[in-house]
């Protein structure tokens, strides 16, 4: 957006701002970037917990979490690319990498995670089934499966055991990778020294835990939605287990973020006054109401209560459904508060600028929504191609 006059620009400000702070450079697309990456990391970590610690209750969501992670991963960079002034130069981050730039390295962290971790884990998990399906399905679908299996026809038990072992190995590599992936996103913000709202060593950790929270909530939501669409009975043991993990991770996340804020308040550096005004003023609604109340306290109290007294199944189902949405919205606003909040106050600590989300345009509300809808479309296609419910039962081996 360009201003017609200095007066128009100044009408956005309170107090003093440096000229380059009046207009926010990072808008909703940059909010979506950590949000979507977080969903990926979170959904993957849920799947990995399930596999590495062999949590039986979570089994029904294993493939679903992986496919969810994968479909969101495919679009994770799209908000970034569309934010660029010259989107068609996006590949230069890979072809002429700048090794001292935090953002440039993210390209490789991303590629590692996408290609080596997610893709391989899904591949090992589905390899056997895809081989079977390539025989069962006629025509086009069969060709896709054949390509996806890289032409492997082996369906022996031995080959399945190999798949399992290698998949397990990838999962073990994958957990730290997922931590790195999202820790890295936190690091990109946390390492901005000049911005007191971002610059904290806690940032990667907080991002990571909030990522796990949002990922688990997303899987919970998608599991319920998919089951309802397929008219399948929801596995309450599974849902309760997800609810339990959501509760614990949300609790840790809440405590970590609380610690960070307490630290800020107690240390009360020279930036404290402006940040205090920020959260009580421009961020009041998104910080206290959306992130704090809807995204954290309500889910925390409800899920906490469920750990002791469980209401009837139907009520639990309904509540889980609502809570997963609350958490998803809450974490979105957590990202919002970080990204937008960090740009609303002047680094002179003497004033604020303002931000209004446009409706249309690539940086607008609808432009942003696209990147939350596209993953769901991809997921639908993936579920058609690789339906978890048609997979052969797992084999036990040692």
């Amino acid at each position: 957006m360009e201003f017609q006059s200095l007066y128009e620009a100044m009408s956005k400000m309170d107090g003093y701002c440096y000229p380059n702070e009046i207009e926010l450079n990072w808008s909703v697309l940059i909010v979506l970037y950590p949000y979507i990456t977080g969903l990926v990391a979170g959904a993957f970590i849920l799947a990995s917990l399930n596999r590495v610690f062999n949590i039986k209750a979570l089994k029904p969501t294993y493939e679903l979490s992986l496919l969810t992670a994968f479909s969101f991963m495919l679009v994770a960079t799209m908000p970034l690319i569309f934010h660029l002034g010259k989107p068609f130069r996006f590949y230069e981050i890979m072809t002429t990498p700048h090794l001292t730039s935090a953002m440039a390295i993210f390209g490789f962290v991303y590629l590692w995670y996408l290609m080596v971790v997610l893709l391989l884990e899904i591949w090992f998990d589905y390899r056997y089934d895809m081989t079977i399906w390539s025989k069962e399905n006629p025509g086009f679908k069969s060709i896709i499966y054949k390509i996806l299996t890289l032409g492997i026809k082996d369906v022996s038990n031995k080959s399945r055991i190999t798949d399992n072992k290698l998949g397990y190995f990838i999962t073990v590599v994958g957990i730290p990778s997922a931590f790195i992936l999202h820790g890295y996103v936190g690091f990109i913000f946390g390492s901005v020294k000049a911005n007191p709202w971002w610059s904290t060593v806690m940032m990667p950790v907080i991002f990571l835990f909030s990522a796990m929270v949002s990922g688990i909530a997303l899987v919970m939501f998608i599991y319920m939605a998919v089951s309802i669409i397929r008219k399948q009975k929801l596995d309450m043991i599974c849902l309760d287990a997800i609810g339990k993990y959501l509760f614990y991770i949300l609790l840790i996340d809440f405590v970590l973020e609380g610690l960070d804020q307490i630290h800020r308040i107690y240390v009360a550096e020279e930036s404290f006054d402006i940040l205090n005004l920020l959260v009580h003023g421009k961020l009041f609604f998104t910080f206290f109401i959306m992130q704090g109340l809807i995204g954290t306290l309500i889910p925390l109290l409800t899920l906490g209560t469920f750990q002791f007294l469980k209401p009837k199944e139907n009520i639990r189902k309904f509540v889980y459904f609502i809570l997963s949405l609350c958490v998803l919205v809450g974490i979105f606003f957590m990202r919002w508060n970080v990204v937008i909040g960090g740009q609303l106050f002047s680094k002179s600590f003497y004033g604020f600028t303002d931000f209004k989300l446009d409706m249309i345009g690539k940086e607008g509300f609808l432009g942003g929504m696209i990147w939350l809808v596209v993953p769901l479309i991809i997921l639908t296609i993936l579920l058609w191609l690789l339906p978890p419910w048609k997979k052969a039962p797992h084999i036990e081996h040692e």
Binding site: Y91, E92, M94, T95, T96, H98, M115, L120, W123, F124, R127, L150, G151, I152, D154, S159, T162, D163, L166
Partner: protein
């Protein structure tokens, strides 16, 4: 080695090879010649036409009378092209109307309108007060504004 690993290794090798090939073609030829940028960019910038010409060698040789007026005036420190814009086209073909000749009050106001942030050495007038009916140049000679 299990067949899965073999095929995956091949797939990854192909992927990496494709990446390297793509990189070879996508990476600009002169990239990294001097630093982390396209070496040819220096030459490209150098080759761009110079739009602001040397005033003493051009404008003044043809418009000597105007130059003389300006030189003895309060506007003497201002380059012709500050008011008339870049002169490279005009110098090549002076007969055409290819140089800016401003008339509007706002033009003089760029430097003279009242603005507390402006250095006081430049005399300031209130654009809404100072003879607001007429163009500045109807009273002031732009090349020697104290003459009217």
């Amino acid at each position: 080695m299990p067949v899965q690993v073999k095929r995956l290794l091949i797939a990854f090798a192909v992927f990496i090879a494709l990446f390297l090939v793509a990189r070879h073609f996508l990476r600009p030829a002169t990239f990294g010649e001097y630093g982390h940028y396209r070496g040819a960019a220096l030459k490209e910038n150098e080759d761009r036409p110079i739009k602001y010409v040397n005033m003493n060698e051009t404008c003044i040789t043809c418009h000597d009378s105007i130059a003389a007026v300006r030189d003895s005036s309060v506007h003497k420190s201002i380059n012709c092209q500050t008011c008339h814009g870049p002169g490279y086209k005009h110098v090549d073909d002076p007969q055409k109307t290819n140089i800016v000749k401003e008339h509007a009050r706002e033009f003089c106001g760029r430097c003279h309108s009242k603005n507390p942030a402006r250095a006081k050495v430049i005399k300031q007038i209130d654009m809404n007060e100072h003879n607001k009916e007429d163009e500045c140049i109807s009273c002031h000679n732009s090349h020697n504004p104290v003459l009217w």
